[in-house]
Amino acid sequence: MQDFIDNLIRSWGHDPAAWPWTQFLYLAFMGAAAFIVVNFAAISAGIFSWAERRVAARMQSRVGPNRVGPFGFLQWVADAVKLLLKEDLVPAEADAVLFRAAPYFMMVGFACVFVCLPFSHKLIVADLNIGIFYILAVTALIVVGIIMSGWSSNSKWSLFGAIRSAAQIISYEIPAGMALMIPVLLAGTLSTQGIIRAQGGWPWQWFIFDNPAAFAAFFIYFISALAEGNRTPFDLPEAESELVSGYNTEYSGMRFSYFFLVEWGNMWVMSAIATTMFLGGWQLPGLSPARFDALTGGVAVIAEIASLALFAFKTLFFVFVVMWLRWTLPRIRVDQMMNMCWKYLVPASFAGALFVAAWMLLVHEAPWLGQAMRFALTAIAAVTVAAFALRTLKNLRDTGDKFDFTSNW
């Protein structure tokens, strides 16, 4: 973004280094970027709340919210207005200061992530050279918010939810971090844009298909991200059947809506990280980053919009997968959750990192091996997806779709 502002100042006929207003312009642009990004986060979280309910309804052969606006699309606006108008209750025995502060900690930890999340070839708030590391670090604030809310509510349900959440997130941070280190190893940089640039537009140039360990790392990351985001099958901190609603039991009104805003907004964050690290991000097939940079005029604008659309498509697909999992898998038990992390995911992610380091040395000696492995893994994935699609079509043909598409839309 700094380059963009510098160029803007130069186009006005000033030297950015000497012009006295440069820093104020930086500040103004930072404020504008923060405003846009936080609104994007909030609005996408709202839309996901509607989408999740529609998807859930479809999977359970129900109708879902369909009254406000076309297909019930404006339901999230109605819900937000309702929550904002509700009374902001603080329980009498609660620790009022921490109780009030906790949602803001979560909101800050969530909003800070968007600084380093890319949206397209040029659209990113700040391309830090420690990008992905920064994202891992600031998300820790969310847990601080969760555990503060759980403790300060002075309620058993909230406290158990918070303790479970802390245990879960501290545990799953390790495999998630190690799995993300594998694309970092392959790209040789921590910057999110740098990692995307090290990949390519075609699937076989993505890091997920680079080698078997990277393929496994993608799934390790995805499982860990589900656990860190408290999503099913790891939604133990807010298990309704055991803990009422977990750490946010005592909250109401706007503060309650913050918790859910973070939970739904996190779906975009985890999917965007997966897209960035493993799935080629905004890279367009057949257009290398160097040639992308060189484009000018109308073609550059079209390519930019195409890259934005491609990134959004990949990310939204994984948002859908997260919803899909929620309505497919049952919640696992606490001990199973811990076993899965410490006995399987942690050793697997460490072994994967070692394997990738060795693999990179090997490929450096024999480049054809790397190419062959990429094509083989892509072919295996393509065959699996095709088999899955055929199987689904066959099931649909055999049983028929019982959903009533004609009424109540």
Partner: protein, 173 residues
């Protein structure tokens, strides 16, 4: 100009957070203040263009503080009445004197000519900052080339601590 404003902002945050850690009687508030203190400290590291250290600060200590939280809640979940009356003991006076003495020494050094704002040392620092000082590569090179022995010994120390924790926590293995 902007840097100076940010520095005083972050420094005030560190001092406020740090003093709250010591002065608050409720350990939960102490832990929350510690989080704030670490975040402001990370801000100061960023101003010193030590970006990697700033992020490590947040990453490592925010996790550590979370564990601290859990310990505080599970081991000494204190109510206000259990904390007892505020007492004024000899050791608190000693602590106060130590704090004031340390602050005085630092202020004396900082206000004195120890850190010149011009000259070769400063020029060298600016040159280093331009070459990616404080980034992943620079810290990594220093850590794995110049300071590899202390680094490996530290990791060995951590391994000993982990083994000890397992032995203490699990009597029969």
């Amino acid at each position: 100009m902007a840097e100076a404003v940010l520095f005083y902002l972050f420094a005030a945050g560190v001092l406020a957070g740090g003093s709250q850690v010591v002065l608050r009687r409720n350990p939960i508030y102490g832990a929350v203040s510690l989080v704030g203190c670490f975040f402001f400290l990370a801000g100061i590291y960023v101003l010193l263009s030590a970006h990697l250290i700033a992020i490590l600060q947040v990453l490592v200590y925010a996790g550590a503080v979370m564990v601290l939280f859990v310990f505080v809640i599970m081991l000494l979940n204190l109510k206000e009445e259990e904390l007892g009356e505020l007492r004024f003991t000899f050791w608190k006076v000693v602590g106060l004197v130590a704090v004031l003495a340390t602050a005085a020494v630092i202020a004396w050094r900082a206000l004195g000519p120890a850190y010149p704002s011009t000259g070769p040392a400063r020029d060298n620092a600016i040159l280093l900052a331009a070459e990616g000082f404080g980034g992943v590569k620079a810290v990594g090179r220093t850590l794995y080339l110049a300071a590899v022995l202390p680094f490996e010994l530290t990791s060995l120390l951590l391994l000993v601590a982990i083994v000890a924790a397992v032995v203490v926590a699990k009597g029969k293995i």
